[in-house]
Symmetry: C2
Amino acid sequence: MNISDLVGQAREGQPRAVAKLISLVEDAHPSLREVAAALTPHTGRARVIGLTGPPGVGKSSSTSMLLSALRKEGKRVGVLAIDPSSPFSGGALLGDRIRMTEHATDPGVFIRSMATRGHLGGLAWATPQAVRVLDAAGFDVVLIETVGVGQSEVDVVRLADTTVVLLAPGMGDGVQAAKAGILEIADVFVVNKADREGAETVVRNLKQMMAMAHEEKPIVRTVATRGQGAEDLVRALGEHRDRLEACGELSRRRRRRAASEVEAIALRRLRATDFHTGRLDELAGQVVDRRLDPYAAADALLAALRSGQ
Amino acid sequence: MNISDLVGQAREGQPRAVAKLISLVEDAHPSLREVAAALTPHTGRARVIGLTGPPGVGKSSSTSMLLSALRKEGKRVGVLAIDPSSPFSGGALLGDRIRMTEHATDPGVFIRSMATRGHLGGLAWATPQAVRVLDAAGFDVVLIETVGVGQSEVDVVRLADTTVVLLAPGMGDGVQAAKAGILEIADVFVVNKADREGAETVVRNLKQMMAMAHEEKPIVRTVATRGQGAEDLVRALGEHRDRLEACGELSRRRRRRAASEVEAIALRRLRATDFHTGRLDELAGQVVDRRLDPYAAADALLAALRSGQ
């Protein structure tokens, strides 16, 4: 397989080449370095938008609605559906994938779900590199969608230029209990199912919460299943993007994304080689035997790393 | 504050001293090293049992049931309730904590919930050290409970001697979709709400799944809210523990736990100092500007680390 051919085909819009490149990244294929080197010159253009929200909020139909709206503007859109991959929620995103097949025959759309169960640091490792593939392949927008469980939505924030938090009426008290966390994450709020009872309560609660925190973030009302609110959402995203650019925050966020990516690559290499061919297992044995405390063992591990032993 | 006094008080069973030590660990207090050194000689005795399962399975009442059963045997029990801390599930474990107050006045029980939202590597960092505190304080059993979302149950497996996976009838298809993941994680299965319709179907499915994978793991039926099945569960846990010891697997698992702990401490130190006072941000800038690909940047980061720059 010739990497530069593959990159060329991906840039010509061949979905099979894009898929192949993402697979190389996910599997940590030996050609990774070559792939990254070939992609890098073509990157830096795509807008990266994160979508997150609790299960049941209508994330799938919202993504689909946003996809359609962006396609109407002629944008090519890549979607990374991050599967947090609990063995207990294994099927959660399957429905999404199936429903999104309405876009499957559109050459301007590429949808990929990324599952990383059990892979320590797997999401942090693979997602930024998959974004890089889509960026280099000429997608104007990359949507990263994840259900809001555990660490995953925090990871999305680290990767996105703009993060959309979806809410809906009738989602229970969990959302209330964690106001601060939501405010921190969101650049744009979407209150989906806005035709249902309770939607205005959700909006009002959000506004109160923001007032208390002296924050102001846009709230867009949508009924995703009917496409209502799509233009408002696209406008809110565009305005956020403009603000980011105007105040220099866009380049800070992209630098943060690159730093995450570089750090994940470096940590993976440390884990795969130095820490293990190194002294980790031996040191762990000494901790179990109570001959070393774990801090002293960590010191010894780092010292071995620095001296190249 | 005198650390050796604090450790002494914790070992005498003073819950306030135990709580204080865990807080020092969670906050990465400067005295951490001293704490770890003071704890280490007293560790290595506690059994560590992980409990995980999907939301709604009756995890809280199961933990409570197991606590009572172990207390009847005179065991001192520490519980770490790991909160995966999504902003969307912020309140999920609150109910558990409140319900567990039935054990709150029992001096042989210590319950702590650990929340680590947004803290990269937070769980991997703090949990093994909290286990160490409880172990040194003389708890015979440490229960680590977590809802099964994302990475958290994998982390629990890395820490526990024995992992219990809870299931119940009527939990939907998600569980079916991820058979392999569950089998990999569990040492003991509990089918809770065993008096409800569908419980035998859950048991049958588990058995089929195990037969297909040529695995055999114990399945215990419980009705946790009525304490039914508690003795069976304690027996299954004891038998698993005996098997672990007989085949040398117990010491392997403890070595793995120590390795996780040492690695987390070392990574945290790298992140806090070398990577950041080091060249990470500068390298990220070069990646954003397309002057470096991320692999070359990771190389440069590791080279700087090794040469102590």
